[in-house]
């Protein structure tokens, strides 16, 4: 690993000021599970690294009538165990519990996971399906970025180099909403998923769908929303026909990258299969 200057600000203002000094040659360290590997491989060689571990306020998890707020430095393990997260959405708690292994879950943070922007990661998929918004701040301004606009490409987000991700905000779910997260893991439990699906639905007294969200991981360069599939469900009963149609539309929305977990064609087919399974579970 190349030598670098390590800084540990005591306050958020100090962190933002340090980042503003030289945003292009400074990297931010949260849990370090992705960044340290990239640095050891010397794929990234920052002149400075800002460690955030003293900014305890960024670990906060809060729920209220407006929804759930997750601090960027909350670890996956703490989120999987948090009663506020489980009360908001058991599927979200299960998503955090499904990340990698226990050692990684206790070290890696949700903010680090999001800004790393690997399209195969778990939390962004469920957060996308739950209509999450990222709140970021630089020395000059604060900004809210809907998850739909956050992921730009493989390993790239729309965050500016001088911006720090502070928290993720989730609006209250529609009454009676049901959600699930399913990941297809044909290799080992700690592998990235070949594809993953998060689905959220709500239905009225007649059983007609009033709210549908389908998000896919590992199915393109970024976590995707299957908008056509969602629209096809609204106003209909969640029966065999509407579910298989939505699953086919979800598969059609994918743009998978072929890798050791499968060809693009296989991943597209599996996105359909796992969307169908997810919808049947919560129908």
């Amino acid at each position: 690993m190349r030598p670098f200057e390590y800084l540990e600000p005591e306050t958020l203002d100090e962190a933002l000021a340090l980042l503003a000094e030289d945003p292009d040659d400074t990297l931010v360290l949260a849990g370090g599970t992705s960044l340290v590997i990239l640095m050891k491989q010397e794929l990234v060689r920052p002149a400075r690294v800002i460690g955030l571990r003293k900014l305890a306020q960024l670990r906060a998890i809060r729920s209220g009538d407006a929804g759930l707020t997750i601090g960027a430095l909350a670890t996956h393990g703490s989120l999987a165990r948090a009663s506020d997260v489980n009360a908001f959405s058991p599927a979200l708690a299960a998503t955090f519990a499904a990340v990698a292994t226990v050692r990684i879950r206790e070290q890696a943070t949700v903010g680090g996971n999001i800004v790393h922007a690997d399209p195969s990661q778990d939390p962004p998929v469920t957060l996308l399906a739950l209509d999450a918004t990222a709140v970021a701040m630089s020395k000059a301004r604060a900004r809210r970025i809907p998850f739909d606009e956050l992921f730009v490409d493989v390993f790239e987000t729309s965050l500016e180099p001088d911006e720090l991700l502070l928290r993720v905000e989730l609006p209250a779910l529609p009454v009676g909403a049901r959600a699930t997260y399913k990941k297809f893991l044909p290799n080992t439990l700690d592998d990235y998923a070949t594809v993953a699906v998060a689905a959220v639905v709500a239905t009225d007294a007649d059983g007609r769908c009033t709210h549908a969200r389908i998000a896919l991981g590992g199915a393109g360069p970024v976590p995707l929303r299957a908008h056509d599939a969602e629209r096809s469900l609204v106003g209909r009963r969640l029966d065999d026909r509407s579910i298989t149609e939505a699953a086919a539309l979800a598969a059609a929305a994918t743009d998978p990258i072929a890798d050791l977990r499968g060809s693009a064609r296989y991943k597209r087919a599996m996105a359909g299969v796992w969307t169908e399974r997810a919808l049947r579970e919560i129908a």
Partner: protein
């Protein structure tokens, strides 16, 4: 690693070919290219590539190894090395134009990747190549339309 790209350019074949064979101008059409300079038959320059937090600065050269103006085919050879993370690549690029207004350009690349650049992995490298080629084709369309 072998990569195949076909793009359609809505211009006469002769103009597309002339645009491609003006190597310094064509090199400037590659997204992220800078400091392009002709040095005899060789064109030198640097290609800046960014994959998330990983930034590459590929300094190298391109030369036309074979060229058949009648058939509309050429073979380019590119050698480049990266000073930021370490690594190098050598690519043989076969160009072939067919059709005429619209003209189809086929780009067949056989690239050998050495050193740390390979850590990025083949799927990601292929994806970057797709992006670079799509940007190059857009620029070539504009250049050819302006001549």
């Amino acid at each position: 690693m072998k990569l195949e790209h076909v793009v359609s350019i809505d211009a006469p074949r002769s103009r597309v070919w002339a645009g491609l064979m003006d190597l310094p101008a064509a090199a400037r059409c590659v997204p992220g290219a800078r400091d392009i300079a002709a040095d005899g038959d060789v064109v030198r320059g640097t290609l800046e590539v960014r994959v998330g937090p990983v930034r590459l600065s590929l300094a190298g050269s391109v030369i036309v190894e074979q060229r058949d103006d009648i058939a509309g085919t050429a073979r380019l050879r590119a050698d480049a090395a990266d000073q930021r993370i370490g690594g190098a690549l050598r690519a043989f690029v076969d160009l072939a134009v067919t059709g005429d207004g619209p003209t189809q350009l086929r780009v067949s690349t056989d690239v050998a990747i050495l050193g740390r650049i390979g850590e990025l992995g083949q799927p990601l490298i292929a994806r970057q190549a797709d992006k670079v080629l799509a940007g190059f084709a857009d620029c070539l369309r504009k250049t050819v339309a302006a001549t």
